[in-house]
Symmetry: C2
Subunit: 205 residues, 2 copies
DNA sequence: TTTTTTACCGACCAAGTGGTCGGTGGGGTG
DNA sequence: CACCCCACCGACCACTTGGTCGGTAAAAAA
C-alpha cells in the first residue's frame, strides 16, 4: 500500500531537484545524470518513473512551476480590496523574494520560455498556458476594478495587463545581474507613477 | 596582401552564421560542428581563427551584438528633438522589426544574459556592459530632457530608464510567443500613457 | 510458502561534444 | 626556381549525452 507513497516521494524528490538544476543551468545544459548524481539515484530509477527527460520536465511544469506562479503572482492579486495596491504589493513581494535570494536566476517562466522557444513546441505550449492564466487573471482584476470605481472606464484592461507583465518580466531579467535593491526601488516607484495615469482619481473623500 | 582580407572574410562569415545559430538555438545548444556544417567549413578552419568556442562568442559580442544594439536602441534615441517621441518611435520601430520577422527569437541581449547568467561570468560581463551603455544613454537623454523643459525636474531619470528597459525586455520576451501585433499595439499605448505621467505638461503655446 | 509485482541498480550503447594535430595546396617572396 | 607562410582540411581523441535492458531484493498477493 505504501508502495505508492514511496513512488510519489521518489518522483517528487527528482522533480524538485530537477527543477532546481534546470532553473540554475538551463534544461539543455543539465543532464539527467547531474540530477541523479546529486540524489544518489540511478538511471534505472529515473527511467522507471519517467518516459524521457522531456516527459520529466513536463511533469515538473504541471506539478511545481504552475504552483509557484500561482502562489507568487496570481493568488495574491485575486483577494484584494484596491486592485492597484494589491498588484503593487504582489509585485513588490515577488521582487523582495528575488532580491534576498542570492541564488536567483531570474523569472522562472520567462527563462524557460526563452530557452524552449521554437525548439520544443509542446513545452512552449504548457508554459504559454501559465502566462495566459496570469494575463486573464490580471484582466479580470482590472475589469472588476472598473465596476468598483478604481479604474477609469476608458482604459484598455488588456493593454494594462500586457504592460504590467512586460515590465515584470523585464525587471526580473535585469535583477539577475545584481544591484537588485536599487532596481526594485526604481521599478516600484515608476510602477506607482504609471498607475497614477490610469487610476481613477478623486474617488473617496 | 589579400590574404588578410580572406582571413577577415572567413572569420566574419563564421561570426555571422554563429550569431544566427546561437540566437536561434542558444549557445550551449549549438555545436561548433553545426556552424561549420552550414558553412561547409572544417574544424581546422574554425580553430585556426578562434581559440575556443567561448573566444569565438566573445568576438561575436564585440563585433556584431554591440553594433546591433547601438543601431537599434541607442543611436535612434540620441539624435532627437522631443526625447519622449524619440524613445517612442525607437521602441516602436524595434518592435515593428521584430513583429515582421517571423524568425524572431526575442531580444538578443536578454536571451544571452539569461543563458549565461552565473554560468559564464566573463561573457556575462561583456553583455552587462552593453546594457550599461544603453542605460547611461537613456539617463543622459532624460537629463537633457529636463534642461530642455520636456521632463518634470523632480522625476528620477534612472528610475525611468530602468522602467523603460524593463518593459522593453519584457515585451520582446512576450512577443516570441506570437500575437505580436496586438502586443505591440498595447505596449505602445501604455508606454504613451506612462509618459504622460512624467512628461511636463502645458509646454508650448 | 510461493509467486508476482515493483522500485531501483548500473553496465552498456550510439550519437554527439569541444578540441587537437599532422597534413595539403596555392599564393607571395627570395 | 625553391621556399615558406598560412588558410583550410578531416581523421581522431576523450568525454558526455539521453536512453536501454537484464538483473535484484523486498514487499504485497496468492
Amino acid at each position: 500500500m505504501d508502495k505508492n507513497l514511496k513512488r510519489m516521494a521518489t518522483m517528487h524528490r527528482m522533480q524538485v531537484k530537477g527543477l532546481e538544476l534546470f532553473y540554475q543551468n538551463g534544461y539543455y545544459n543539465t543532464s539527467v545524470d547531474d540530477i541523479l548524481k546529486s540524489l544518489s539515484l540511478s538511471k534505472g530509477a529515473f527511467y522507471h518513473h519517467f518516459q524521457s527527460k522531456e516527459d520529466f520536465f513536463i511533469s515538473i511544469i504541471q506539478n511545481l512551476i504552475v504552483q509557484k506562479v500561482y502562489a507568487m503572482l496570481i493568488e495574491p492579486v485575486e483577494k484584494c480590496d484596491n486592485p492597484f495596491r494589491a498588484i503593487e504589493s504582489c509585485f513588490d513581494n515577488a521582487l523582495e523574494t528575488a532580491e534576498h535570494n542570492n541564488m536567483d536566476y531570474g523569472f522562472i517562466l520567462s527563462n524557460f520560455m526563452t530557452e524552449f522557444n521554437k525548439r520544443n513546441t509542446e513545452i512552449t505550449t504548457y508554459l504559454r498556458d501559465i502566462y495566459k492564466v496570469w494575463e486573464v487573471n490580471l484582466v479580470t482584476t482590472l475589469q472588476r476594478a472598473k465596476t468598483d470605481g478604481y479604474l477609469e472606464r476608458h482604459i484598455d484592461s488588456e493593454a494594462v495587463a500586457t504592460y504590467l507583465i512586460s515590465s515584470y518580466i523585464g525587471i526580473r531579467t535585469l535583477m539577475v545581474e545584481g544591484n537588485c535593491k536599487a532596481l526594485r526601488y526604481r521599478y516600484m516607484q515608476q510602477l506607482k507613477a504609471y498607475f497614477k495615469t490610469i487610476e481613477r482619481s478623486s474617488l473617496v473623500s
